[in-house]
């Protein structure tokens, strides 16, 4: 299980205009009474074109925690993330750091939550630096231009993610792993402490999967970020998450530490999969096996 030592991050971005990467050393210590959860979802119902996608989902993510949502195709994982990110109306169902989501203006929400979509659009001809600079949009006046602080923030993030050699490369020319780092950099440049990652590794080979997830985990611990992710690879998901939520047919079927969610019985029932679950050092390992 990954360490939760310094995981209690600041409840809100350290400053509106400042560094995109607050150091967790500056973050206030966890208060005894408990700060409000980074994400609180209560009885979330979403219907798309009349079909129920989510039917009463409850979810709570503590500041600094990494929660991964798993579930079979069509279970509603991406829809849940979209609702938390404010892309779907969910009146009354979602609070971010204690504030009802719909009470946040879009720009303010963008300073609190950053989303990395499953396969983000790569604009033709856009350089990495400009793409990451888009992350500063919530800080740039509507018809204005970026400030020196915004540029400094972008440089800081690029430097932190070892991307400064790529700054003037065209995004479209980078490899899958490099691109994923750039998508992450854009999200970090937003200065948000809550990261929503929709299938962050689905386009990557196994080595790059580990590299990206290690990076996310490191950033989370260093800067007190909260991570809510969806993932398909169950073993990998279990190794990085503090808690997992199994979503099936729009409902929470199970939630808890990976070893309680990744069980042969639950996976057989909800994925209709035949698997063996082996104990691993940092989380259960799920191995698909052919039915006898």
């Amino acid at each position: 299980m990954s360490a939760r030592s310094s995981a209690e991050g600041s409840p809100l971005p350290s400053s509106a205009e400042g560094s995109p990467l607050p150091s967790s050393a500056e973050a206030p210590p966890p208060s005894a009474g408990g700060s409000p959860p980074a994400v609180e979802v209560r009885g979330l119902h979403v219907r798309l074109d009349g079909a129920p996608i989510l039917a009463g989902v409850d979810l709570s993510v503590a500041p600094g925690e990494w929660v991964t949502v798993i579930g079979p195709n069509g279970a509603g994982k991406s829809t849940l993330l979209r609702a938390v990110g404010g892309l779907l109306p969910a009146p009354g169902a979602i609070s971010l750091f204690g504030t009802p989501s719909e009470a946040l203006r879009r720009r303010d929400r963008a300073r609190v939550v950053a989303t990395v979509a499953q396969s983000p659009v790569v604009p033709a001809g856009m350089a990495v630096f400009d793409y990451v600079l888009l992350g500063r949009t919530p800080y740039i006046p509507a018809l204005g231009r970026e400030s020196a602080a915004d540029l400094a923030a972008v440089r800081e993030v690029l430097d932190r993610l070892d991307l400064d050699g790529f700054a003037h490369r065209e995004l479209a020319t980078l490899s899958g792993g490099e691109r994923q780092r750039v998508f992450l950099a854009r999200a970090l440049a937003q200065g948000a402490t809550l990261l929503l990652l929709d299938e962050p590794t689905s386009a990557l080979d196994i080595g790059h999967q580990q590299e990206v997830l290690e990076l996310v985990d490191q950033l989370r611990r260093e800067h007190g970020l909260t991570v809510l992710a969806t993932m398909h690879d169950l073993s990998v998901a279990g190794e990085y998450a503090d808690r997992m939520v199994l979503l099936a047919a729009g409902r929470v079927a199970a939630a808890g530490p990976p070893r309680e969610v990744l069980t042969e019985e639950l996976l057989a029932r909800h994925y209709r999969a035949s698997v063996r679950v082996l104990p691993g050092e940092r989380g259960p390992l799920v191995v698909p096996v052919r039915r006898p």
């Binding site: 404010g86 604009p123 509507a142």
Partner: protein, 360 residues
């Protein structure tokens, strides 16, 4: 590895923006087009003298250009308004094209392919036909034609957008353009019908349709100028937002924007600009494709670069094309819309090939 070489504060990342060199090149292109446009014609005037005479128009400048009274009149009353109108119309069409390409995230978007110009054309034809019936009282008003064109262009772009979006949220490049083609055909048919029913106005409408700068006077410039300024200010003010929109609506929303709100505003502004251009000079196609794509290729893909440079180079392009239109087959003039279409057709094929490789 690279960190050791370029790290920390000395690392000089800078955003895509309009480089001063490109801005200077754009301004220079406009000045060259201005002098060339005024100098060349049935009576050729020395460019140096023309430049001096143009400078004389600035307050407080008094140079001896060596031109006769008659030549000065040719410069200031005949050729200058025509060239200035060409600059304004070309700038508007190129700016509108670049803006539509960003708003629709579609490299083939253009005032003509989206049916916007056809909508404006139908509306203007209707006003001319009805106006002739009403004894010219209607068309006599300076705002009637641009206003009708604006209503027509907005109606057309709305139709194209709705039809093109009917395929679902994953609106493809092709669907929107096909919708534009269908809308154009539909509106052109309406226009043909109107013309047939009002054959007395056919000559007037026909010469206007093919694109004309020939009869331009200062009153045309005065009519276009306010729309030009309004469109340019609104579109240029949103150039950074168009870059954000290029990552898609979801991500733009996640970054704190209201994509649909920006989109409607920008469509209205670009359509207003197109309508003003069409009502002054008829249908001049392909400027909105040729200019923004050339700028994108040479100066950079950011709308912060594309839009201001399209305004400048679009103006210069059309003013110079007009020189070709009136000198290539002298003493007769080729309609300028024919010249831009001859250039634009092959160019469009290039863009289509290129966009299939990179943008589907």
């Amino acid at each position: 590895m690279q960190k050791a070489i370029t790290r920390g504060p000395s690392f000089a990342g800078r955003p895509a923006g309009l480089r001063p060199g490109w801005l200077a090149a754009g301004v220079l292109a406009v000045l060259v087009a201005l002098v060339a446009g005024v100098s060349l014609g049935p009576v050729s005037l020395p460019p140096g003298s023309v430049a001096a005479e143009l400078l004389n128009l600035l307050p407080g400048v008094r140079l001896d250009s060596g031109l006769t009274e008659r030549e000065i009149a040719i410069v200031t009353e005949l050729r200058l308004p025509r060239v200035v109108l060409g600059l304004l119309v070309g700038g508007l069409l190129a700016l509108a094209g670049g803006c539509y390409q960003g708003v629709f995230r579609n490299p083939l978007a253009d005032p003509y392919l989206l049916g916007v110009a056809a909508g404006a054309g139908l509306a203007v034809t209707a006003v001319m036909a009805l106006g002739a019936g009403a004894g010219g009282a209607l068309t006599g008003l300076p705002v009637t034609v641009p206003l009708a064109a604006f209503v027509g262009s907005l109606g057309a772009v709305a139709m194209t957008y709705v039809i093109g979006a009917a395929g679902g949220p994953g609106r493809s490049t092709a669907a929107l353009i096909l919708a534009g083609v269908a809308v154009s055909a539909f509106l052109s048919a309406g226009q043909t019908y109107l013309l047939q029913r009002n054959s007395d106005t056919i000559q007037q409408v026909y010469s206007w349709l093919l694109g004309r700068l020939a009869t331009a006077g200062w009153h045309d410039v005065r009519m276009v100028l306010p729309y030009f300024l309004l469109t340019a200010v609104v579109v240029l003010a949103h150039r950074r937002e168009l870059d954000v929109l290029s990552v898609g609506d979801d991500e733009a929303t996640g970054l704190g924007l209201h994509p649909q709100r920006s989109r409607y505003l920008l469509i209205a502004a670009a359509s207003l600009g197109t309508a003003a251009a069409v009502s002054a000079s008829g249908l001049i196609g392909f400027v909105g494709i040729i200019v923004p794509h050339t700028v994108r290729l040479l100066a950079g893909a950011s709308y912060r670069v594309i839009l201001p440079l399209s305004l400048l180079f679009g103006g210069a392009f059309l003013a110079l094309t007009d020189v070709v239109a009136r000198t290539a087959a002298a003493p007769t003039e080729i309609p300028i819309g024919v010249v831009t279409a001859l250039l634009g057709g092959p160019f469009f094929v290039l863009v289509l090939r290129n966009s299939r490789r990179t943008l589907t």
